[in-house]
Amino acid sequence: MRFRASGPPMTLATFRISGSAGLTTSSNPFSLAPARMHEAEGSGRRAFAVFQALRHPGPLVWILRAHALHRPLPPALPGDVGARLHLLTPRSETDLLWAVEETLRAAPVGLVIAEPLEPLSLTAGRRLQLAAKSGDTTGLMLVKDSHGSPAAETRWTCAPAPLDGRASTGHIWRVTKNKKGTTGTWMVDWDGASAAFDLVSAAGERSEPAAPAR
């Protein structure tokens, strides 16, 4: 939630009060740095976007091209994500980038999720970073593999993974690029219905093989 309180003229204070979801705490490795543009790739990137949408209060904007094959299914989105969602369907890639920039620049938006179809150039990425900074809004670009921009703050590679012995869902979320921190790989058990999740174990240190014994 964001509050804007105006006192005497020329002094405008902006407070940022984070919910229980936590924004930049060391206990949660999946918090995105605020007011920056991030990227997610891989087949599980949309699940990662929904996971992040749960942790960003305020209006959500999901931008996809008009002729994209898929659409998010609002009744299936967890919590109040469906009610907070706005869907933009620009016709061209230029319009899409313009819409992302405009939405990032707007203060009231909680999280901007965009799915460009073409590779993001350094210029485009840099412009989005500046827009995110000026609007104090976080952006998450769902790009195809190796279509990302060098300007991204972090890049996540996300893939769904089967979990043995559980009627739940596993994800492998890997930070492959991080401008202000370290990279890492996490095996996450997230059921897609709430903001709560379990870290199974770091993928590299598992004692049992990923594939079930035959």
Binding site: A47, G82, R84, L87, L88, T89, T103, P160, P162
Partner: protein, 440 residues
Amino acid sequence: MGLANARALCPDLVTRPADPEHETRALAGLCRWAGRYAPLVAVDGADGLMADVTGVAHLFGGEEELRADLHARLEQAGLEAQSALAGTGGAAWALARHGGGIIPKGGLSAHLGSLPVAALRLDPATAASLTRVGLARIADLLALPRAALAHRFGPALVRRLDQALGVEPEPVSPAPETPHFGVRMTLPEPIGRQEDVMTGLARLLDRLCAMLALHHSGARRLRLELRRVDRGTAGVEIGLARPMRDPSRIAPLFRRGVDEVDAGFGIDALRLTAPVVEPLAPEQLGGGPMAESGDALADLMSSLGNRLGFDRVLRPLPADSRIPERSFLLAPAARSEPAAGFAQPGPPRPIVIFAPEPAEVSPPPGPGRPPARFRWRRMNLTTHRATGPERIAPEWWIDDPAWRTGIRDYWRIETREGPRLWLFTTPQSGGAWHVQGEFA
């Protein structure tokens, strides 16, 4: 007279169907024009105007001259009119329909006496029954006792008589004019720079928004017309995500349109109109952080809508259907309120949905069984865990081509390779397998 009779008498008769709507509009235009003669002009019936010219006649040189001027101007416009001036509205009505002219002060009963009773604005039945008992002229009525008249022919007759003679006042009450939301500005020198146009626009916006505030309205669409020196006109039209009258929030939306305008040899006139206006009650200033963030979101939707089109800025709303693709609506955000929430009983649904894509299943599983392995989007996938089936029947009251294959059995299939997919089979028509969504 019927049309056939009229044609028999005059074979060359030209006829046109009556167009009351057009006539009403023309009369309203005439009513506005008649404002040059009197401060109060009202439309009277389908074919008349009633003007209160009290204290006006001397401006035209007298009542005779006023009437002459009126007739001259109407004749110039190709209209045939009949007019009368009198001390009361009733008397003027009567005389205008029976010859026209001017009734001097104090001569009401003398002038009206010779007119037929129908000139009193009576309904035809009363007029006919008056004539039947031998009361053909107004003078005949004046001589009779009022009580007996009212008793026999109803109070309306006496009232009309009083109105004609000025015993009962009858003020002219024109309908309130619908406000016109338009302002313009003519410049002494042509301008061509964007900043100049934006400055002019800001001045016009201030005036228009003050006018909107006065009428408790907000603009939904705004149109700026720029007239060039060579008489060409360029227009910039913007839409707003919700009714608004705040100049500082509206002006930036015009910037893109003004950028694209070709100024030619210069622009010498600006005109700003609000073609679509909606009621907007005055609001208390400083409605708190919620109102402020709502305003900012509306501004964002306006600027997005003006470039992408308002039908591409959407908001999902719940819909009452078990068919997955019809379980939500996408409504333009500018024209809808956010949903309270999506109730979601029943089995889980995929977060992403797409048009059904065929999955190659080999070997085909038995009836009521999920496939053990299948091929989708060039990926060979092996079933790890399957949940289902969930049977969804087509809605028979909607003929959807995609659902003509009958009922569908949906399975949530977790694969060993990772993807968790929503597959369905159509047992009523061959049992082909399709993928329709992806779970989180």
